[in-house]
Symmetry: C2
Subunit: 140 residues, 2 copies
DNA sequence: TGACAAATGCAAGTCACTTGCATATAATAT
DNA sequence: ATATTATATGCAAGTGACTTGCATTTGTCA
């Protein structure tokens, strides 16, 4: 996990002013093991007594995502989740019983993408691949 | 495409009363080449002079999905789309320029699912796989 | 340290979707 | 064909995630 100094540099590197709210949001993202939604971030900020308005947090996360610092994740919910873009490409395993979210790195769909580009003349730039089922704990 | 009589039987088969609104929604889904969202369905109904309340349409589509008649699709939008569940499993190619949605049937991720079950002890029940990029037309 | 562009806070608004409850209607029994 | 009844619908209001406009505050850099 990065310290405050590194967080500041991180933001600077993305040409973003290092405000208190932004630093706090970045830290929360660094510490989160799985993608989180904005409402949860706001809750964390409240617990940490970082005073901010909801709107600010929505604006921060949008900015982060536009600049490529974070990435939007949709897991069949009526809201978006976000995670740092720094980690290498991976997918999620979502337990439909307990809601736990695990990462899964191995993914070999380049072959499929090539197939699509060949057969459909569709230039693939991005894909979303998420799995839903029952995690090991909930199987017991 | 099914005719009215078949639509009625279709609904009966799912143990659903064949009301005017439900038949109309079912027909719209039959005729749609790609997953559509509820607001669009409501628009179509208005054009067809089928009088219904928004709420009813939301309830119908929820019921259809609960019963397995339709399937929910999320394409990085802030709303859900729906498509008939009858068609065999397929994925979507979403053009980020014109918004066009194409189907793509071939998908060979059973191997990946087996890998997940083995490595993570996670029982995969469902997955979502969507591709985003530029369609053939927009490449020109 | 001061100037200024950019970030924030507050109020209000939008959009997809849900809930509660009274009324209307499809399906079945008569 | 009609009455019965469970179920579907319409209307009003509510919720939750997210956005917009605008006045005020705050990092940043000269």
């Amino acid at each position: 996990m990065l310290n405050l100094h590194n967080c500041k540099n991180e933001l600077k590197g993305y040409n973003l002013k290092a405000t208190e709210a932004r630093l706090a949001v970045l830290k929360i993202l660094e510490n989160s093991a799985k993608p989180i939604d904005v409402t949860t971030i706001i809750e964390y900020l409240k617990n940490q007594h970082v005073q901010t308005d909801e709107v600010t947090v929505f604006r921060i996360i949008k900015l982060f995502t536009d600049r490529g610092l974070t990435r939007k994740v949709q897991l069949q919910e009526d809201k978006f989740r976000y995670e740092l873009n720094s980690q290498k490409a991976h997918h999620h395993l979502v337990c439909q019983i307990c809601g736990e979210i695990e990462d899964f790195s191995q993914c070999n769909i380049q072959a499929l993408e090539k197939d699509i580009e060949k057969k459909k003349k569709f230039k693939v730039l991005d894909h979303s691949l998420e799995f839903f089922g029952v995690c090991s704990k909930c199987q017991k």
